[in-house]
Amino acid sequence: MSVQRFNELRGEQVVYAIDRQDRTFLPSAEHCPLDPTRPGGPQTEIPVAAFQIAVFDNRFPAFEAPGGAAEVVVYTDEHDGSFATLSDARAEALMWVWRHRYEELGARSDVDYVMIFENRGVEVGVTLHHPHGQIYGYPFIPPVAALELAADERLGGCAPCELLRRELADQERLLFEGERVVAYVPHAARWAYEAHVVMREHHASLLDCDAADLRELAVALQTLVRGYDALFERPFPYVMVVHQAPTVDPAQAREHGGHLHVEFYPPLRTAEKLKFLAGSEQGAGTFISDTLPEQTAAALREAIARAV
């Protein structure tokens, strides 16, 4: 069971989940715990011979009931591949799975914020290569979500709506536009190839999305990650996070703010160089970037065009 301590200097919770120290670390493909359990093979986390998408409680949870949730979302029973290589139908189904998990976890009294995310690549600490993501149900509103709510107040309305309006007006950092979804490198990106995939309409969460929204969101996310992989012609590491309304009071999600969008934080600044969070980023909280968002947006647009 993890414990939380409040860091007074930072004004934030720190979670101590010491059992995670012994979690499975980069096993061989033959011992992947996210593979299906095949006849005669080792028992894995998923005790069936085949599946499409599986969700289960994390064996090494950072949060667990009655103090939150930690789930693993396995995208496919095929060990090799990535979110980018899923079929269109599977990617679309995954959006529905995300929606379902947001709804169920968000309804729990011990979950104030549902964060769906994927860490891809050893550069961001991945310990299992099988295509998968995770979901944390925080028993509090974490700092990034709180900052987004503060941005709503500062801008006098929905911040992502206003920022999308500015990006559409500026055009320079847009990656692509769909009928329902827009992707861009933000004006003040912290990471060289940071990208935001944003719903045009104000949808507080996936629960506001209809089937067409989810279908286009899946297409947009895969378009972006395929472009990422084409950028340096290598599997592109990233952290992908779905931002939605807090679920402190699900019945009043709209009043709590939030605008469904997906943010990508890739650590690469060139094909082989990583951006490290060092003195200024950790000590002062100020990112110093070696690239301009307009430059990286142009490079990403070209990569996306190559990948289509």
Partner: protein
């Protein structure tokens, strides 16, 4: 029940759950952890916009193994999607 589902299935089998384009198979692992297997039922017509906000009552029954109850008044959560449809 999803289109094409076997209506003569064994009574021991838990009721099939639908969620949008998904079929759900809820299980529990040997150590008690929850496991949900989702499948994209390609035989089921994709829901239209209203169907996307439809809530199958079966899908919202609290998990008997869940350690946490739904919030008061939240049920899991017909009001949420209803107000946002």
């Amino acid at each position: 029940m999803a289109a094409g589902a076997d209506e003569t299935a064994s009574p021991e089998r838990p009721p099939e759950e639908r969620y949008g384009v998904l079929l759900l198979d809820r299980r529990h692992k040997d150590d008690g952890r929850a496991l949900i297997l989702y499948s994209h039922d390609e035989d089921v017509e994709e829901p239209d916009e209203s169907a996307a906000h439809e809530h199958d009552a079966d899908a919202h029954e609290p998990d008997e193994h869940a350690a946490v109850e739904p919030r008061d008044g939240a049920s899991v959560n017909p009001d949420k999607a209803g107000e946002q449809a």
